[in-house]
Symmetry: C2
Subunit: 341 residues, 2 copies
DNA sequence: ATGAAAGCGCTAACAA
DNA sequence: TTGTTAGCGCTTTCAT
C-alpha cells in the first residue's frame, strides 16, 4: 500500500507537507505543491480514508434507517425517491451513504445504535418515525445527530423534514366531499406510524367540516408490506351501505383497491371514486389514471441530507423542523372537477 | 468518548486485555472477562470501528455500484430485489453496505475507483456490466476485489453471478413461436449492456430454430429510464405487417407497451401477445396478467454478497462464475398454452 | 493469563 | 514555508 510516507520520500518533503498538500493548505509553495502532486500521481497514491477518519473523529458517512423491513421498504417507490434525493446531496458533499438493513424494528434499533456508537456514521437519517419511537428517544438521549423524515411526537429539540400530512389528507377528502361523497372509506397505513396518525387527523377534519360523522367501520389499517390491501378493499366494499369513495393513504395500495372494485363489477369513478397518496410514477398509468396527492419526496430527501450535514458542520439550521407542501393532482379516478374549490 | 483505556482503568487491567475480551480471545480468565464486560457495560463502551479498521486494514464494508443513474436504478423493482438479497447477507455478516450514488457512468467509475483506493470499502458488487466495461477493466487491472451481477466480456478471471439470459430469452420467444407467432417484435434495453446482448442472442436463436428470419425493423432498444417504451411500442405497432407478439425485455417496459396496444384498440392476447421479463410483483396485477420470465433476483443478490465476502476472507469460490436459472411463468398475456412443449 | 510497547496512516500543534 | 513530534483508538507481537 502506498502511504503518505512514500509520497514524502519521493517528493523529498516531510509527511506533514504531503498532508498539507492533500487538504490544499495555503501556506505551501506552489513549487512543492506541484512536486508532491507529481509524486502522488506517479505512485498512484490515494489518502487512506480510515486513517483520516480516525484522527478527524468523523467517518464522513451518513446512515439511512428505513424503519421497516428491508423488503417492504425497497419495494415502495417512496423509498427510491427519497434515496434519490439523499444521494444527490451525499454525492455532492462527498459523504458516504450507508444503508441500514434490518429485518424488523428491534434489530434495526439495535443495529442503528451500534452503528453510531461505533462511529461507522456521523449522523443518521431516519424514515417513518413511529408513535413514541423508542429508537429516536434513545438517539436523542445519547445526543446523537439525526434528522427525521416525518413527524416525531413527544420530543422537543430535533431536526425533521416532513410534508404536510394533515393538510394533504384534508385536501384529498375535501375534494371527495366537494364531489358529493359522504361515505368515504379510508384505507390507512399501520396506526403506529405518525404519518398515518396525521392522515387520519386530516381525514376527520374534512369530514367534520362538512358535518359528516366519522364512522370507524369505514376505516382500515393495511400492513406496511401491502399484502392485504386487496382483502381490505373487498371488506370495505361489502359494507352496507357501500362507500362511494375511497381515500387510500398510499398509491401502492390503490392497486389492490382497484382490483377489488373491478372484481365487484363496479366502475371507477362512476360507482366508486378513488383518491391516492404519493403520486408514484405509475399513478398515471393506472386505469383510470389516479387522482392523488403529490408530495415532494425527492426534495424531502435532499432537505434531510442537507440538514444532517449542516448540523454535523456545526451550522445553525433554522427552522429545525421543515414542512414541505403537497399538492392535489386531479386525474380521472374521482370523476368531474369539484364545483366549489 | 469512552475508549478502551477507560474500560481498562475501571476494570484494573491493561488495554490489551480489554481488546482480547472484545474479540473473545480464549486465553483470558472467565473472571477478568466478566469484570471487563461489566466495566464496558457501566461505561457504555462501544469499540471504535474506525480505529479497528485502520489496524485491521479492512473497512468491513461492501460498496454497491448501480451502473446507471441513481434515478433509473432506484425506480426499478429489480434493484429493490437485488438490494434485498445483498443486504440480507451483509447484515448477517456484519458488513457495512455503502451505496454508490452517481448521476452518470463516468462519475460513477471515478467515484467507485476512489472508494476502493481510499479503502472506504473492501470490495464491490457491480450491477449491469456494459460491453467492454471500462470500470471493470480498471478494477481488475488494479486487482481490486469485486463481483459482478451479470456477464462480463473479455475478462478471464473474475467473480460473477448471473441468470441465464440467453436461455431465458430463448424460452420466451420459443413460447411465442409455439403459439404460432412469426412476427415477434422485440423491445430490448440499451445495447451497451451485456444482458441486453444476451437476450438479443436468445431471441435470434429461437427464431432461427423455427426458420424465421430476424428482421431488425422489429427490434427496438429502449432507454434505461423507460421513458420511451410507449413511443417505441407505437412505432412497432405501426409496422406493416404488424407484429402479432411482443417480447419485452423488462416488465417495467410492458406498462408502456400495454398502453400503446390498448390505444390502438387491439386486444391482448387476441390481437397481440405480450411476454415480459423479470416477473416483477406488479406483473400479476396487469390486465391481462403478464406471462413473463421469472429470474431469481433475490438469490442473485445473496449469492453476489456471499461470493464477495468469501473472496475477501480468502476462501476459494468455486465456480467463480455462477449462473442461476430462470423460469417461464405463464399467465394470460399470450393466450392459450402452446401445443408442443 | 496478562502487560508493555510498537505501530496502523494520517493530522495538527509547536518549532524552526 | 516546512519539519518534528505526538497521538487518534485500537491490535498484536513479545515478554513475563
Amino acid at each position: 500500500m502506498v502511504t503518505i510516507k512514500d509520497v514524502a520520500r519521493l517528493a523529498n518533503v516531510s509527511p506533514s507537507t504531503v498532508s498539507r498538500v492533500i487538504s490544499d493548505h495555503k501556506s505551501i509553495s506552489d513549487e512543492t505543491k506541484e512536486r508532491v502532486r507529481q509524486a502522488m500521481e506517479e505512485l498512484g497514491y490515494y489518502p487512506n480514508f480510515i486513517a483520516r477518519s480516525l484522527i478527524k473523529r468523523s467517518s464522513h458517512a451518513l446512515g439511512l434507517i428505513l424503519s421497516r423491513s428491508t423488503e417492504s421498504a425497497f419495494s415502495n417507490p417512496f423509498f427510491a425517491e427519497i434515496l434519490r434525493g439523499i444521494s444527490k446531496v451525499t454525492q455532492k458533499r462527498q459523504y458516504t451513504l450507508v444503508l441500514s438493513t434490518a429485518e424488523n424494528y428491534k434489530d434495526e434499533a439495535k443495529q442503528c445504535l451500534q452503528m453510531v456508537m461505533e462511529r461507522r456514521v456521523d449522523g443518521l437519517i431516519l424514515l417513518a418515525p413511529r408513535v413514541n419511537d423508542e429508537l429516536i428517544r434513545k438517539l436523542a438521549q445519547n445526543k446523537h445527530p439525526f434528522v427525521v423524515v416525518g413527524r416525531v411526537n413527544g420530543l422537543q429539540h430535533h431536526y425533521a423534514v416532513n410534508n404536510d400530512n394533515i393538510q394533504a389528507a384534508y385536501s384529498a377528502v375535501r375534494h371527495l366531499l366537494n364531489l358529493g361523497h359522504r361515505r368515504i372509506a379510508f384505507l390507512n397505513g399501520p396506526a403506529e406510524y405518525t404519518f398515518c396518525q396525521d392522515r387520519y387527523q386530516g381525514y376527520c377534519m374534512a369530514l367534520r367540516e362538512f358535518g359528516v360523522e366519522v364512522d370507524e367501520r369505514y376505516i382500515r389499517h393495511a400492513q406496511i408490506d401491502h399484502k392485504d390491501d386487496y382483502e381490505l378493499g373487498k371488506e370495505l366494499l361489502n359494507l352496507k351501505p357501500r362507500p362511494t369513495a375511497f381515500f387510500v393513504a398510499d398509491d401502492l395500495m390503490v392497486i389492490g383497491i382497484y382490483r377489488a372494485i373491478k372484481e365487484a363489477k363496479l366502475k371507477i369513478p362512476q360507482d366508486v371514486a378513488v383518491i391516492g397518496f404519493n403520486d408514484d410514477a405509475f399513478a398515471t398509468l393506472l386505469d383510470p389514471p389516479l387522482t392523488t396527492i403529490r408530495i415532494p419526496i425527492y426534495e424531502m430527501g435532499k432537505a434531510a441530507a442537507e440538514t444532517m450535514i449542516a448540523v454535523l458542520n456545526g451550522e445553525e439550521v433554522n427552522p429545525p423542523q421543515k414542512i414541505l407542501s403537497s399538492e392535489l393532482v386531479i386525474r380521472e379516478s374521482c370523476g368531474a372537477k369539484p364545483l366549489s374549490q
